[in-house]
């Protein structure tokens, strides 16, 4: 529980659900609409949008709530964890395909990459350690 940041987790889940809501609303017009609305199901725009929203969420979480550099990274990972939980829920709801574990791993990699990138960016402007300050 040492590394659990509930606000980050909730924000990550909310960010993913918000991104998914945009995909559902605009799936046919913005994203081609060939398959089920799902961020890994289009040619790349949906992936970019979801990654961007998660990036912004992690950026906000790290900026607002992180105490130091390490905490910023932890917040980024927590945002990814929340997004992953929401992602699995949405995937089960829309119907797990035949390779759904691989899809989940792929989704988590994208979520982690974008949130950790944001938190690393924030970490550069945070003090080295809150305890040493």
């Amino acid at each position: 529980m040492k590394y659990l940041r509930w606000r980050g987790v909730v924000l990550g889940a909310a960010a993913f659900l918000a991104a998914h809501a945009v995909l559902v609303a605009k799936w046919a017009t913005w994203f081609g609409g060939q398959w089920e609305p799902w961020f890994l199901n289009d040619s790349g725009r949906a992936v970019a949008l979801t990654a961007a929203i998660l990036f912004v969420a992690a950026l906000a979480a790290s900026l607002l709530w992180a105490l130091d550099r390490g905490d910023a990274i932890v917040h980024g990972v927590n945002v990814a964890a929340g997004a992953a939980a929401a992602m699995i829920g949405v995937l089960l709801a829309v119907g797990p395909g035949t390779i759904f574990p691989i899809v989940i791993v792929g989704g988590i990699v994208i979520a982690l990459a974008s949130t950790v990138a944001a938190s690393v960016l924030v970490a550069a402007f945070k003090p080295r350690s809150a305890r040493s300050a």
């Binding site: 799902w38 890994l40 199901n41 709801a93 119907g95 797990p96 395909g97 390779i99 691989i102």
Partner: protein, 394 residues
Amino acid sequence: MTTILRRMLWLASVAAVLWLGIWRPQAAATPRSQAATTSQTRTNAPVRTAPAGHRVGATPGQKGATDYWLESQTTRLTARYDDATVAVGQRGTDGNFETKLTDRGGVELGRFTVSRVGPEGTGGETVLHYAPQAGDPLHVYGDQSVRPTLAWANAQAYTLLKDGAAGVASLEWQNGIMRRRGTVRRDVNRQPSELHTEWAGGLSARTLRKSAVNLKWGNRVLNGDVLASRLMRDGVQIGAANWFAKDQVLLWDIPGVTSGSLTAAELTSFGGWPFAPDAEWLNLQTIAFYHFKTAIDKQGAVARRQPEPSSPNRVLDFFVTPVLANEAGCDGLHWLDGTVLRFCCDVHDLCYEKYGCDYRSWWRWWSSWTCTACNYGAVRCFSGGGYIPSYRYI
């Protein structure tokens, strides 16, 4: 059971090769004496014994209906010649053809069109129009013994370009190809150094002329000219077939679909290969291997087995949308459909279809070892960047 199925598939493949390979597009008219004999045998003819060791599997000079059907699905045929000339033949919606000839730099050298004015098939009237960039256009009737195909149109267009056709009076039909009178005979079908067949449903095959030097295959060593065909679907390679002309060996491998070999020794009852495979045939044959096998699978020759869900699964299904049918490509990961990883998904789909697996096999791994093997193969394929070391389990 698997062994029987595999043998049946192999036999079907052999039959397909022989069935489809009944051509050498000489397109020569049937001699009158032969036609007369044929009509005589229709009335009170004695039953004749076919001598062993004779070529009975084909009628040289005539393609079969299956081959014509396969050819009719070709939307575009691109032939590249050694002198850098490119002939691109396209089939129109009205069944007519047009071949465009270009040089190394893409500059147009001429156009050749084939218009049908009679019923389709051998004997149907066609009008041929050749319009070179330099020189007078040509407007003639086609030879009624020739049933035009895209490959024929490309070969004819290239021949007219190379022969420098000057006028109708200077032309004659040589072996189904219109040529300048007095020119030395040559096999125009063997000339393209590369032939690209674009087929229906995103399938395509590209054959290149190569050469093999001491290539080990079992106990044999293969040498000489090779026609190497690569089968693609939506831009991703899904299989290959090679024809070794000197050794008379055909090898093919379409992972997850079919793989095998055929040698002249296995066709002794047909007197060896009943025709000389060329690039057009190899492309169509490779496509046919894939098309017919996957069509059989889709149409239920391999029965789908879906077990009744157990109680925990029924509970789970209440919350989870059951997805039993595979989508084409990567389910839930269609973002990667255009990449090499698409291949992993297709092999995995085929494996699921064959063994009646569904998504539950991921966590109920003990319920079916074959389904677990499908999943393991998919994971290995993804982690290996699109490479599966063995498909033998499918």
